[in-house]
Symmetry: C2
DNA sequence: CACGAAGTTTGCGCCAGCACAACGTTCGCG
DNA sequence: CGCGAACGTTGTGCTGGCGCAAACTTCGTG
């Protein structure tokens, strides 16, 4: 709810400077996001005063793997796709980050460079700060604690990912990926739940270590069975329950 | 080097109480381990005074996935295998932890339960502390910083793991797994570098999401080519360079 | 509204690697 | 030192899902 407000405020800035301090932004709006929830007003204002805001179109690279970690980021609206590219040019999507989370916090894990590439999966609004401010903010009560909770969750997701890749069939992996998307970023629509950002079969194949072709085939089959409905870049899950069945072995 | 000393000291305790305070242990021995390297003598003594020491045989479960995270651990000697078990009973090995690292630090990531199962991959000597002490130690300068560096590294490894599973052929994955084992835990022997703890083909297959049979076949083929030498539970890599070639696409 | 780019569908053949099976080898233990 | 269990090897057949190819649909743009 708070986020919507922020977005409106920021929309006004769309045609102005793409990067500018956020002095205008009401600090109460950030209060409910986990990393900031335990901070007092003075601290929040301090953080906001030093933030840079920027609006990104879909498919823009926020930072690349191996680059020096000069800034860290807070996603206010939209979705971020975290991916790596192999020597042979294949892309692997590691995870999707929903709004309200910090990302690119290499510094918090003692790294000097970003370990992966972050690309906007939809239009996005992002605050960012120079990395050197991390230690300063880290002294604020609860800031790091909440951050590391997020890290812990992501580790859990990665573990699950590994187990899935290691043990499940393609159909189950794709079903799982879709369920995860719908759970984490789903939006209720008339005939089911829709993934809240544009997603192609190619993307799904990169999330599940399969191929565009296989994903396409399966989605077609599922559509025939009335489990999903999809159009270009949009996927609606109309029968989540049957998808859950498909996602489990046998 | 310091570790060897510790091990000797502890060996003396082998037949005494399996669990007892470590008051006797010279604090200077822990000084060089990353999590403690920036601590002063008083702090190290404080940490040691509250530690419990225990010796484990090979193949013993230290903690299980989902259990309440009552303690956190420091591996002084040996190796730990971190694994998860799927609903269908398949095991997946997530990573191996070498001596000198903290593990089971769910608390540091805001979790109440352990996210995976930890089993000793060899005989091991482990210190542990009640979880509630974490926050106390965390106030010591550098303790958490160094810990989170380790977490960062493990995240990197997991990412690599995911990319490997997603893009590489079985032969390359097994070659990679073997190279990683040899790099991280290798011990020089006469005719090459040996994995420093007992490892079965089954283990390797669980690390690479393949089967015992395939691993066995490949190791046999490699042995015929003079790349590795293996006997029961032991693997020696005699020609790492050619293994690197095998680990890369084409 | 015509064109190109991006996204999607579908058919077909093939092969890496799994399942199944049976046997050989090493180790620990009484 | 003999037995059983754990660990390792090898052969054979089969199939899921990938590679390749070609055509179709939707969208944005000038």
């Amino acid at each position: 709810m708070a986020l919507l407000l922020i977005v409106c405020l920021l929309d006004g800035m769309r045609d102005e400077a793409q990067q500018k301090p956020m002095a205008r932004l009401d600090e109460s709006l950030l209060t409910h996001l986990p990393p900031f929830s335990r901070l007092d007003n003075r601290q929040i204002r301090d953080i906001l005063d030093q933030a840079t805001s920027k609006r990104y179109n879909e498919g823009v690279t926020v930072f690349g793997e191996g680059e020096e970690a000069e800034r860290f980021f807070m996603l206010l609206d939209g979705y971020i796709r975290v991916m790596r590219i192999t020597d042979t040019g294949e892309q692997v999507i590691a995870l999707h980050i929903p709004s309200g989370q910090l990302f690119g916090i290499a510094r918090a894990l003692g790294r000097d460079t970003y370990p992966a590439t972050a690309v906007t999966a939809s239009e996005a609004i992002i605050l960012s700060w120079p990395t050197r401010l991390w230690d300063h903010f880290a002294s604020y009560d609860g800031f790091t604690t909440e951050t590391y909770k997020t890290v812990g969750k992501r580790i859990g997701e990665m573990n699950t990912r590994i187990v899935e890749l290691a043990t499940q069939q393609v159909e189950q992996r794709i079903a799982n990926a879709l369920l995860r998307l719908v759970n984490q970023t789903g939006r209720k629509v008339e005939d089911g739940i829709e993934v809240d950002f544009p997603i192609t079969r190619q993307d799904l194949s990169e999330m599940t270590a399969s191929t565009l072709h296989t994903v396409s085939r399966l989605l077609s089959a599922w559509e025939k069975d009335g489990i999903v409905k999809s159009r270009r870049k949009r996927i609606v899950v109309s029968d989540p329950h049957r998808l859950v069945l498909l996602s489990q072995p046998h």
